[in-house]
Amino acid sequence: MLSNSALSLTHVDFTWPGHPSFRLRLADFHVVRGQKVLLLGESGSGKSTLLSLIGGILVPDSGCISVDGHDVVRLSAPARDLFRAEHIGVIFQQFNLLPYATPLDNILLPLRFAPMRRQRVGDAKKEALRLTHALGLPQDLIAHQQAGSLSVGQQQRVAVARALIGKPSLIMADEPTSALDAGSQSAFLDLLFQQCDEAGSTLLMVSHDDRLAARFDQTVSMAEIAEFERGRAT
């Protein structure tokens, strides 16, 4: 079971340091390798905290979080950062890119922090151009424009290329379509799924939009798997 799971969280208990009323508890959550999972939850349901825990930015007080068979909880802080760089691709809602760098430099950015992933890619620039071509982005746009001058839809696709370069085992996407209009949303998901399949990456996508559920292998709601307390900030 464990060897087959891309992501597995068991008995995770997390309290924000200094905010004891801010607590996330999660008994059991598994994602099978290669699957596309939609995690539904309203804003304030602890989705971001969960992603930060998986990404190794936050550490639970107890429990086990294993990504691709590695327990991230037991790693040191620098090792968790390195692990995230090597194994996880991240796509945000918007403003994914460093606006002053070219899209190409943005795509190559995670490789800077992940030597093994970089080695796996081989010719990084060629791979970046292959990805962007597959995502329907014109080549001269990628190498010569500043990322800040791209449209939101183009930026999101550059973010997909960046998350997928070097084929990380897990892609975490935090409401990647919410800044897009309905027509582009569907096209964006097509591209995202296609590229995840090609790279063999598992996809964990967070959204509050349950209309997307039909397109995923598995849909889980935050409320089902986790218990989230959010006391009033004092």
């Binding site: 971001s48 992603l51 930060s52 990404g55 930015i57 936050l58 802080a77 620098p78 950062d81 390195l82 995230r84 760089a85 090597e86 991240v90 945000f92 403003f95 994914n96 890119l97 460093l98 606006p99 002053y100 760098a101 430099d105 190559l108 950015l109 995670p110 800077r112 922090f113 992940a114 500043q146 960046r162 935090d174």
Partner: protein, 417 residues
């Protein structure tokens, strides 16, 4: 994309605030280096005022005072040296040469100095350079005068022009019956010689023949030709420059003069007195260096403030880097690299500003203050100053970098702004 190019691109994207900050650092560095140049130039030109003279003799007073009135033509002698004493010293076997100086009169704002022709041969400046003539030659006649470069330039004098000596300094009584003729104009030296009118001791004596006790004797006016025929041996002089035969004897003769029985005299070593004088002036020097160093500190603090104020809007950027796997220390390093980069560019631009400023201002400073500032490659001391500025920039950036470290730890991959 390396951390350095990342930092550089990030700086480029904020080029207005960044260039203003870099400009401030550059200006402060240029100011600091310019102050250094002027300070060292002034010190050198100060020490270069007189050289190859072993002793200066005058009436007993302070050594700095003697140096000031005999060499710098600042202030007045409290007393004179009698001709008898002068001749006693000149007759000493250790003395190689001796040049008398007689001061007290003026021409416009310039001092008039009576001396012998040997002065032009013996007076040396800037490491042994001799006086050179830009035009004409040394005085020959009793009523010949040699003027310094500044005198000629400011008053528009040519060789052959008449020149009238005024009695005393800043006085309205003029020796107008006995005009002098300019026989030569000296080349620029950057020393007080440029602002001096030099005449012969006899000439100076001659214009005072009809004077007693600082006032003109009414109705008496000895004609120039009669004066020329007279034996005009001065009764006293103001000071004398001495060269000794053997440097080993300098202290011996200095003591002999200081213990001279007939008259209270003082002999000083010019180098020692110059150092003493510079110690007094040196307070201003230290203050100047201190103030310009503070300007550099202010510019660097301005840079830290600029980085600080930009942190909040850059939290997104930091979150992206964190999500990509950057450590919080990498974020911290990025900010420090940025600051160091700005300090490096600022320091280098400061050097460029300095040289441009020097190239423009040098002729003016040389002409106006007699201060020659060499445009030389940076000295090792200036190199250290630049390194210190860059290091201080890096250290100053620790504050905002630490803040960024805390922020990126708290924000992680997400920013709630």
């Amino acid at each position: 994309m390396s951390l350095l190019t990342l930092a550089f691109r990030s700086l480029l994207s904020r080029w207005i605030t960044v260039s203003l900050t870099v400009f401030a650092v550059a200006m402060s560095v240029a100011l600091f280096l310019a102050v250094e140049k002027v300070r060292i130039g002034a010190k050198a030109s100060f020490a270069d005022t007189i050289s190859d003279t072993d002793l200066i003799v005058g009436a007993r007073s302070g050594s700095v005072q003697l140096l000031l009135y005999s060499v710098f033509r600042i202030g007045n002698a409290t007393n004179n040296v009698t001709w008898q004493s002068y001749q006693d010293i000149a007759a000493r076997p250790e003395v190689d040469w001796i040049v008398p100086l007689s001061l007290g009169d003026s021409h416009r704002q310039f001092r008039v100095m009576g001396t012998t022709v040997e002065y032009f041969q013996r007076y040396k400046y800037r490491g042994g350079r001799s006086l050179a003539f830009a035009a004409g030659e040394r005085f020959d006649d009793m009523f010949d005068a040699v003027v310094g470069a500044d005198v000629a330039r400011e008053l528009g004098y040519q060789v052959g022009d008449p020149i009238i000596v005024s009695h005393g300094i800043a006085s309205f009584t003029e020796h107008d019956q006995l005009p002098f003729t300019i026989s030569g104009i000296l080349a620029k030296t950057g020393t007080p010689v440029d602002r001096t009118v030099t005449i012969s001791l006899e000439g100076l004596e001659a214009i005072h023949v009809d004077w007693r006790g600082g006032a003109k004797i009414p109705g008496q006016a000895t004609p120039a030709d009669t004066l020329r025929a007279m034996d005009l041996q001065p009764k006293a002089i103001t000071a004398a420059l001495i060269g000794v035969k053997s440097k080993l004897r300098v202290f011996q003769i200095q003591r002999a003069i200081n213990e001279y029985k007939e008259e209270p005299l003082l002999a000083i070593l010019p180098g020692v007195a110059l150092a003493e004088l510079w110690q007094i002036v040196g307070v201003a020097e230290t203050a100047l260096v201190g103030v310009s160093a503070l300007v550099v500190v202010t510019a660097l603090l301005g840079m830290a403030a600029m980085i600080f104020s930009g942190l909040n809007e850059r939290r997104r950027e930091m979150a992206i880097l964190r999500a990509m796997g950057a450590r919080p220390t990498t974020i911290m390093g990025l900010l420090m690299v940025e600051a160091t980069l700005m300090a490096v560019i600022g320091a280098l631009m400061g050097v460029v500003f300095l040289f441009i400023g020097l190239a423009i201002a040098r002729p003016y400073i040389d002409a106006e203050f007699g201060l020659y500032l060499p445009i030389a490659f940076l000295s090792s001391r200036e190199g250290w100053v630049l390194l210190a500025v860059i290091a201080a920039g890096a250290v100053t950036s620790l504050l905002p970098a630490w803040r960024a470290y805390r922020l990126s730890l708290a924000d992680g991959m997400t920013v709630k702004v």
